[in-house]
């Protein structure tokens, strides 16, 4: 079973000096936090805010490559989250064949947002990632921690 997720936001985590992409299950309301680095966060932020960079950023280039050969991003699936290793799959459709490409969730999300492709999380991931951790973390946040990504 998989659940469709939406990117709810992007926050800076001052304790780990990293960023958190917050995904939310559209039906169940489950939250899935994914910790990412600064440049990964920036790639997601540009897509969320619909910013057209003067030059193509790396994920724009990836999308341009797929577009120019009529390959389509069908969906991306976050398949597993371990301590420091996160797994996702990008599902591509090209010449009537389907391909699943191994990816970090940050790249998968950055591409999905640009390609308007749905983002899914496996139930296994949602179960594993108890949102208690996130809620506790959110409670500790100060208002100034919110706001736009400073890239």
């Amino acid at each position: 079973m998989i659940a469709q997720m939406r990117v709810r936001g992007l926050m800076f985590d001052p304790y780990n000096n990293a960023y958190i992409v917050i995904l939310r299950d559209e039906d169940g309301g489950d939250m899935l936090p994914i910790w990412v680095g600064k440049s990964e966060a920036s790639a997601i932020s540009l897509a969320l805010e619909n910013v057209a960079a003067p030059r193509p950023m790396t994920h724009d280039l990836l999308k341009a490559m797929l577009d120019s050969f009529d390959a389509k991003v069908i969906s991306v699936v976050i398949t597993d989250l371990n301590e420091n290793t996160y797994f996702a799959k990008i599902h591509l459709l090209y010449q009537d064949a389907e391909f699943a490409v191994d990816s970090r969730p940050s790249d998968a999300i950055a591409l999905a947002l640009r390609a308007n492709a749905p983002i899914f999380a496996s139930e296994n991931v949602l179960r594993k990632q108890t949102s208690e951790e996130l809620e506790q973390w959110l409670e500790n946040l100060k208002p100034e921690d919110f706001g736009k990504l400073d890239s």
Binding site: P56, L61, M65, F69, I90, V101, S103
Partner: protein
């Protein structure tokens, strides 16, 4: 979309990545490319993340998870797209432009790219890197000498102590 096409008739000079220089004071990296003789240098200023992506490829570091350019390479391999060559094709207002030439079943597409992405990808797929003669002529390596002088001295001293 396809700026390199206007240059396709021009002669190209093959380049290789020489090194990535680091500016400890800013978030800047300098890609230093050189021609086959090692005499002609082309410096290109890039961001820290872009410089790191290239350094990882130069050092052939295998990261636990695929980095973004690895993903791009893997996508191309899955779809049987061949990345044939990358060309640093233009420079306008100190911004360099590159073109990535991709071929599949006799169909060639040219992708507009930042040189940092083009080079990061070229190193991973082991395809040639070129610059147009025109761009090489208009490069500003004058700055590079100043940079080299500034950074090599403290570095080499540090190594000796």
């Amino acid at each position: 979309m396809e700026p390199a096409d206007t240059h396709s008739s021009e002669s190209l000079v093959a380049l290789r990545m020489h090194r990535v220089l680091e500016d400890p004071n800013t978030d800047t990296r300098i890609l230093v490319l050189c021609d086959e003789t090692g005499k002609d240098l082309l410096p290109i200023w890039v961001g820290a993340a872009e410089g790191n992506a290239i350094r990882l490829a130069m050092d052939e570091v295998v990261t636990p998870r695929p980095m973004t350019h690895d993903l791009m390479k893997n996508c191309a391999e899955h779809l049987n797209l061949k990345i044939q060559r990358v060309v640093v094709s233009d420079v306008k207002n100190s911004t360099y432009y590159a073109a990535i030439h991709v071929v599949s079943r006799g169909v060639e597409r040219t992708l507009d790219a930042r040189p940092s992405d083009a080079i990061a990808l070229a190193l991973r797929v082991r395809c040639p890197i070129y610059v147009t003669e025109d761009v090489l002529k208009r490069r500003s390596s004058g700055h590079l000498d100043a940079w080299l002088a500034k950074f090599e001295t403290p570095n080499s001293e540090a190594r000796n102590t």
